[in-house]
């Protein structure tokens, strides 16, 4: 049970009221660029509020990464309400731990998420064409057809770490739940009367079970597909080495990527010596190493948002694979990325006695 309120008209008008009534000075929210196309935007009090698209089911960039761009060098100097999906909030928490973002002065409005469509549907088709079916599915507590594979198998669609939660699944009109002091401060500033109620509907709770089952199925089918060196080559062999997956990855924050460094420029002898051992050699080398190496860097923090898969021009199911491997390593370290700031990144901490089965 929490303090809740229905949105006055719609979610957009609630967000505008946050600006108008001085609860915050800036709003961070997806906004329509043109019909059916969205991008994240920072909108000041006196700015244009037309075309807010908080619930439009596309993720042009992981919002957590976008927030890190304007909080990397320090906290924002005025109150900003940020509208984020659950995996975007979790990314933001991970980026704070990685010293790439700052939460001060941010009011996190977390959306209950029905998933997002692959970006291709926004660029090649009319994004809005899918809207009706999507909203209908959400109302009924179903998984919408055609969303990102990882979204269909996401059982963390109820936001964690938000000040205000926007519940949409199983509802005609979104409901707000004010979960923290900061959230309640917003409610009082815009003069919303709250009453005690459940944050999420029973349809949402039922969907949780469906999606947990989807997740288990996805993980096992992915692992069956990428099995052994043969499976690895089958899936990653066609990689063209554009590194788009890492460019759009919200966790891969390094400005100078290790895998693009001179470490991987070899002397000619490295190639010719290898040729003595092998019948032929793939050039450029290290295409597969890049993916496995990237896993060692970010699988512990991967929230399976699906950006990498959308960005892959070769249709490699990157996000599904990272979700599967991420699930295993996160379980190993009993770590859930984005669950809380107090949980330390697995590779920056240790317990004196652990993993004793590895030792001799």
């Amino acid at each position: 049970m929490a303090k809740t309120a229905e949105v006055p008209q719609d979610l957009e008008s609630f967000l505008v009221s946050l600006l108008d009534l001085g609860a915050v000075e800036v709003l961070f929210c997806p906004k329509f660029l043109s019909e059916g196309k969205v991008a994240h935007a920072l909108i000041p009090k006196e700015g244009s509020r037309k075309g807010l698209a908080p619930l439009f089911p596309f993720m042009p960039a992981n919002g957590g990464k976008a927030v890190s761009q304007f909080t990397l060098e320090g906290p924002v100097d005025r109150p900003v309400a940020v509208v984020l999906r659950p995996c975007e909030i979790r990314v933001l928490v991970e980026l704070v731990k990685l010293e790439q973002a700052n939460l001060d002065n941010l009011y996190i409005i977390g959306l209950e998420c029905g998933g997002v469509y692959p970006l291709e549907k926004m660029t090649r088709e009319k994004g809005a064409a899918h809207l009706e079916a999507y909203n209908q599915a959400l109302k009924e507590g179903q998984v919408p057809q055609g969303i990102r594979e990882v979204c269909g198998a996401c059982d963390l669609f109820q936001p964690m770490g938000a000040d205000v939660v926007v519940s949409v699944i199983g509802r005609d009109r979104p409901q707000l739940a004010f979960l923290t002091g900061k959230g309640l401060e917003l409610a009082s500033k815009v003069g919303l009367e709250t009453r005690r109620g459940e944050v999420f509907t029973s349809q949402s709770q039922a969907l949780l079970k469906t999606k947990a089952a989807n997740r288990a199925q996805l993980l096992s089918s992915v692992k069956e597909r990428v099995k052994g060196y043969q499976g690895l080559l089958e899936v990653f062999g066609k990689c063209i080495g554009c590194h788009n997956c890492s460019k759009v990855c919200p966790i891969c924050y390094c400005k100078d990527c290790f895998f693009e460094s001179a470490t991987f420029d070899y002397e000619p002898i490295s190639y010719t010596q290898r040729l003595e051992k092998k019948g032929a050699l793939r050039v450029p080398m290290d295409t597969i190493l890049f993916h496995l190496g990237r896993m060692t860097h970010m699988a512990t923090s991967c929230v399976a948002c699906g950006m990498c898969e959308d960005a892959c021009p070769m249709g490699i199911p990157v996000a599904q694979i990272f979700k599967a491997v991420g699930a295993d390593v996160q379980e190993l370290f009993e770590y859930l990325p984005g669950r809380g700031l107090q949980e330390e990144l697995p590779l920056t901490t240790y317990r004196p006695v652990e993993f004793t089965e590895l030792e001799e």
């Binding site: 690895l232 190496g293 599967a324 190993l332």
Partner: protein
């Protein structure tokens, strides 16, 4: 006719303990198989998981990471981080069905020459049992 399988194992040994132990095994004239190719690192935590994966993709049949016993790290806690890195690497390999048993972590103190010889022997035997790394044959890795 193919030659009999001789494992090639890459061993990352920490300067302060395990490398010294290997030295001790040598000067004590202990016998151990020559399959281990030693790379000295200043600390076991210097071993980036990428090193291990690179060795395996390039066809190494096994990778040994060895350092000071827990609590004895020259840099206080490097080996604790190394343990987590090896755990992570093995888990990723397991997840993708790439044979995590080809990676081994061992604590060998500077005075433990006989233990070094023992570990080298046992790990070589273990890898011999597993057979050649299937990555050897894959030209597109």
């Amino acid at each position: 006719m193919s030659e009999p399988f001789e494992p090639k194992i890459v061993g990352f040994l920490c300067y302060w303990c395990s490398y010294t132990a290997a030295d001790l095994a040598g000067v004590s004239r202990m016998k151990y198989p020559p399959n281990l190719r030693v790379i000295r690192v200043m600390c076991s935590s210097r071993v980036d998981p990428v090193f291990i994966i690179k060795a395996l993709l390039d066809g190494a049949d096994g990778v040994l990471v060895a350092g000071c016993h827990p609590g004895d790290c020259h840099y206080q806690k490097g080996n604790y981080y190394a343990r987590r890195k090896v755990a992570l690497t093995k888990k990723i390999l397991e997840s993708l069905g790439l044979g995590p048993e080809r990676v081994k972590l061992s604590w060998i103190a500077a005075s433990e020459g006989p233990k070094f010889a023992q570990v080298a022997k046992e790990f070589t035997e273990e890898i011999r049992r597993l057979g050649p790394n299937p990555a050897r044959a894959e030209i597109f890795l």
